[in-house]
């Protein structure tokens, strides 16, 4: 179980190395690093984002991320799973999230990592507020994220 919710940045190279360290039956590690974009997404306004604050629900966040990890381990043969998600104020280009899956098989690693991202996008209790020239605004949930999460239900184990 490797779930971390923290304000601090993380060292992607060290985290990925630790995930496979000491287990030479691992064939590969698939990962995703999510970054703060300077453009708002989806609403077409194109207003630049100077910073972003991530609020979360301490306790429930860890609980939901652990449930998502457990679900991934049920669905795929994984030797290691890691989810790190930051909260607090972040600047464009800053790392927000790292999801990584180690497996003997690359298809399992890729699928499971993608699943982690899709599910945490719709289930982990985080909320983004962007700072723009027009003031602060809450990011709206995206229909495409719901659809991305939904497709995994159709492929239940």
């Amino acid at each position: 179980m490797a779930i971390r919710v923290q304000a601090e940045d993380f060292d992607v190279g060290a985290e990925l190395a630790a995930l496979s360290d000491g287990n030479p039956s691992i064939g590969g590690v698939a990962s995703f690093v999510g970054l703060v974009r300077d453009m708002s997404k989806g609403d077409g306004s194109g207003d630049s984002v100077s910073a972003m604050t991530l609020e979360h629900y301490p306790g429930m966040t860890e609980r939901q991320l652990a449930a998502i990890e457990a679900e991934a381990r049920t669905r795929w043969p994984l030797d290691g799973v890691l989810i790190i998600h930051r909260y607090g104020r972040l600047l464009p280009g800053d790392r927000i999230v790292l999801a990584a899956c180690a497996s003997a098989h690359r298809a399992a690693a890729f699928e499971a990592c993608w699943f982690l991202m899709d599910w945490l996008k719709t289930k982990a209790p985080f909320w983004k507020q962007e700072e723009t020239p027009a003031g602060a605004r809450w990011v709206a949930a995206k229909e495409e994220d719901d659809q991305a999460a939904e497709r995994w239900y159709k492929r239940a184990p």
């Binding site: 629900y57 429930m60 609980r63 945490l120 996008k121 985080f126 949930a141 994220d145």
Partner: protein
């Protein structure tokens, strides 16, 4: 019963957390929201569109007909936008 609010629900209601003692008829999460809406225009406004209100009881997502009881931690928040 402890109620937590997050993101724009917190901002609109004007508090992050409160202890409430709803009347006896409030048996479900749906009842609870209806009762909260009666507590003032800030609540009424924030909770007007239930399609964008998510509910968790004791840190698990639940539907609008989930039972609530004294001692529960109930959280109300908009659809999540992390990742």
């Amino acid at each position: 019963m402890r109620i937590l609010y997050f993101a724009w629900l917190r901002a609109k209601i004007g508090t992050a957390e409160e202890e409430v003692a709803p009347p006896a008829g409030v048996a479900t999460t749906g009842d609870l929201i209806t009762w909260l809406q009666s507590r003032g225009p800030n609540y009424a406004d924030a909770l007007a569109n239930r399609a964008v209100v998510k509910v968790a009881v004791n840190q698990d997502y639940v539907s609008m007909d989930h039972p609530v009881a004294p001692g529960d931690e109930v959280a109300l928040f908009p659809p999540v936008t992390g990742g």
